[in-house]
Amino acid sequence: MAGELSVAGADLELIDVRKDFPGFTALDDMDLHIPAGQFFALLGPSGCGKTTTLRIVAGLETPTQGRVLIGGKDITDTKPHERPVNTVFQSYALFPHMTILDNVAFGLRQRKVEDPVAKAQAALDLVELGHVGERRPQQLSGGQQQRVALARALVNRPSLLLLDEPLGALDLKLRRQMQIELKAIQMEVGLTFLHVTHDQEEAMDMADTVAVMNKGRIEQMGAPEALYDRPKTAFVSKFLGQSNLFVGKVVDSNANSVSIEVGGSKITVDKKRAEKHEGTIAIGVRPEKATFHESKPTLGADHVLIGPGEIIDIRFTGVSNQYLIEVPNVGEITVFAQNVGKSPVVELGAKVWISWKVEHSFGLRDLPDGTEDQG
């Protein structure tokens, strides 16, 4: 049955796409290539242009300039109903005046596909809702409607499936469950999925490739692990997980590493993990990569050491504690420590030193907002 639904997905290409709305530019010369069969996530805050991108691919918006290609074929001027693309809408948009089965069979009937009812039933079975075919959309729960919307799109075997924050309206538990199901279905049918979301966990959990968007541009694109391990801009480092960022002038640079000085401490990054090697640069580290010590440790050159600082806030989050440490002249640093022994490890107001391995530092291309170039 899954075999019946599966087709080879097609690749999607956006070339130099720009979209101007009165008063602002939603998309700024965007280039994007999504290989066939990939689960691709566009991640970004609201208003970053991700939904506009999706609507341009679906044909619901016309780009101001640029071309859209699916499977190598230019579809920029093709009407939405003539594109080999289906969308799972954020609001699901299930037709309220039709039964669930008629909703799912709608696309098949429009294209005069043979035996639409049997195929629609098979698609409903795939999302485990075969028994609700005769009901109306408003009689289903949010999670069920979401799955019907998915079946309604999948049944047409589009070359490309667009998902517009399809899990946004679900509660956390259902969302996690649907993420797993969605990923499983994508692997089963082998379609190209373009998933738009503002939920970074959802994007990292499901996608093969994540593109982080900000202000109408793609800031960085790559596998979730790579993006998390080496964010290249301040925006990505803050939007995808949390980061401690330090800004300073380069004081030391050799073949392997670059160091800046911040408030009397030296912060070092591997040269191959840094985007910029001179002038004023920003270096960051993830809170879980850093540790703190109650007495000043003796560490080699392969570690960064900052301190002493004072613990000003402790947050208990279950599996870990989040410590906020104020270091004079450096700023606030967040450190995550797992709850494996005594919790919390230290009390509020304790004096601590912070350290991490140089190999965990990352150097950014730009500076965080609100910091000035000191060069």
């Binding site: 009407k79 109903h81 005046h97 429009q110």
Partner: protein, 303 residues
């Protein structure tokens, strides 16, 4: 429903009777109004329709009776007017719908991004109500009169043959009916289209439906409540209208409708039983047609 809601909030028997009294007090003005101005006149109408001529033989004097003959008399005498009434009502409703739908769609859907324009257009639709409809119909009588500029022009371009006049024709009456009742079609259509979720239309085109198919399969069914209420709100009053078809307005003796005959029997012939029987017949036909229409369109729950 109201009783159940009150009952659940007041579990004791005493509380229930008390809130029951409140509900009754709130319903009373409406009930009194209905009895005084609907039930009593209706009963009186039916009784009048069965009255027989008084023994004195004087015109306009009748005694209570059970004269079913009044009904066969009006149906045989006035069947052309009955047929014309429903023919006109049907035609005028269809024309109103065809004119109103694109207008309401434009105001309710296309003008959404421009709320100022939307409000202005709705005001324009309602604006005619600010002037009495008798005055407006009289005004049309002037405008469409034989030697008015409009008619001179119509004769010149050959829309009408030299000896033909528009006023007093069936077309003039239907024109007047459409003109007078079209806001009752436009407003419910607008209300229903204004709530139409554009995302359904986008989903339709995303699922391979051409614009024409999207309209037929999605827009039209979703605006059905507006179509049903609009057609009922125009058809029912048009069927009973006695102004437009009258000789004093846009009609002639060849265009009279049921309302015209009721008017004539009541006020000129003083044949009260016949006029009443005519009204009951009109009511009965409308009731049957509306019931059939609502059943057929599957929207009983809307009423």
């Amino acid at each position: 429903m109201a009783f159940a809601a009150f009952g659940s909030s007041a579990p004791t028997t005493q509380g229930q009777t008390k809130s029951g009294r409140v509900v009754l007090a709130l319903l009373l003005p409406g009930l009194i109004y209905l009895v005084l101005f609907f039930v009593i006149p209706l009963v009186s109408l039916v009784l009048t329709s069965l009255e027989a001529p008084a023994a004195s033989g004087k015109i306009g004097e009748y005694v209570p009776g059970f004269d079913i003959g009044n009904y066969s008399y009006v149906v045989t005498k006035y069947w052309p007017q009955i047929a014309r009434s429903f023919g006109f009502a049907f035609l005028a409703t269809i024309i109103s719908l065809l004119i109103s739908y694109p207008l309401a769609y434009f105001i309710g859907v296309k003008a959404r991004s421009r709320p100022m324009l939307q409000r202005m257009l709705v005001t324009l639709v309602i604006a005619p109500f600010f002037i009495s409809f008798l005055l407006r119909t009289i005004a049309w009588k002037q405008l469409l009169a034989d030697h008015s500029p409009i008619m001179e022009w119509a004769h010149q371009v050959g829309l009408l043959s030299p000896s033909q006049s528009f006023i007093g024709s069936e077309a003039a009456v239907v024109f007047g009916l459409v003109y007078n009742f079209i806001p009752f079609m436009t407003l419910p259509l607008y209300t229903s289209l204004e709530r139409l979720d554009i995302r359904f239309l986008e989903a339709g085109s995303d699922l391979y439906a051409s614009p024409a198919k999207v309209f037929r399969k999605i827009t039209l069914p979703l605006s059905m409540p507006g179509i049903i209420s609009g057609t009922l709100l125009t058809f029912i009053p048009i069927a009973g209208d006695y102004v437009n078809a009258s000789r004093d307005f846009l009609g002639s003796s060849n265009t009279s409708m049921i309302g015209t005959m009721v008017d004539a029997d009541f006020l000129q012939n003083r044949n009260y039983p016949a006029a009443s029987a005519m009204s009951v017949v009109l009511m009965g036909i409308i009731l049957i047609l509306v019931t059939w229409y609502v059943r057929k369109s599957g929207t009983e729950d809307l009423l």
